[in-house]
Subunit: 219 residues, 2 copies
Amino acid sequence: MSNQKVTILENILSANDQLAEKNRFLLDKFNIFSLNIMASPGAGKTSVILKTIEALKSTTRIGVIEGDTAAVTIDADKVTAGGAYAVQINTGGNCHLDSSMIEAGLNQLPLESLDLVIIENVGNLVCPAAFELGTNTRVLIASIPEGDDKPYKYPGMYRGVDVLILNKTDLKPYVPFDVNYFRKGVTLLNPGVKIFPLSCITGEGFKPWIEWIKIHLKK
Amino acid sequence: MSNQKVTILENILSANDQLAEKNRFLLDKFNIFSLNIMASPGAGKTSVILKTIEALKSTTRIGVIEGDTAAVTIDADKVTAGGAYAVQINTGGNCHLDSSMIEAGLNQLPLESLDLVIIENVGNLVCPAAFELGTNTRVLIASIPEGDDKPYKYPGMYRGVDVLILNKTDLKPYVPFDVNYFRKGVTLLNPGVKIFPLSCITGEGFKPWIEWIKIHLKK
């Protein structure tokens, strides 16, 4: 890249980080626990979010910010129907959410009435990793049919997350997936990451994930 | 975006397009048919490429340019073992291939001895769509476990391709996937796209795809 391009990218990232801190301050002010959920398209972000809402909604007030590259409300409609507050963000073709979009999204949520904010990032294993949004926790959802080599191919994403959900464990009998090879790649990049293997279809493995969220709720 | 950023992005895309024409000219000069294969991570790009090599290698000389965000040679090694020439391109964290990377890749292939060049783009349903590489055909691989709503969520990618492979049809019994809803979204965006449903595991549906390539080979 030319120096000009590098400088502009650095400026964008630095402005983003400053705004992320502002978002974090706002979430902390209202004692809200927050998750930035990232994954490749189709790994099951929306399914995990919907099942999480279902499991928590009797005790926890949840807001969801839905990021999409186009003006579709498919996920936001599902989330609203599922019993949470939802805000839809159209990135206008952009490949990731950034802090200014989250600032706009938080402004549309009733923060004083929420315990948990979940951000569903744009489906992408590359770009979202570079953009801090201000959440407490960065969550990556991988899925069995994606294949066991993804940590090796997308190290930037696997290196930067706090929690790794391995979704679609119900498909294990039908696809080649070497769990040891996958875990070896994950451990090399991110030895401390918390891993939750689960299935949104059977519900297997979901309980530890829900318990983990409950422990981290602030009120 | 600021005007400065917009101008730089336009300059990058325009320079990329010019170089794409140069790549196309080079491929045409050697009568090589070429494919730019795009997909989200884990849709099966490498599996489709390996099975395509297997089906064609007795009659067709194939070169593959493998794009990855990191310095891994997993796919290039598989392609070489499968009987094709392979060049590995590390994008250094970048989320897509561009024409200058392809120019460098083509320079490392024995073009005078090839009939078909396949480019495996970085796994990403957003960014690669904006970058012409100079190939004859743009191919998108979708997969059943990704879900039936992807055309609606990633219109930029679905709109811009010539061929759509719907992979992992063997998983249909195990996941919710409404083929009519998927096809409706595809048709709205890209009514003329050629669709090949297939499975790399069972081989079902692979023959029409191979026949389609054979028809388009130039020598």
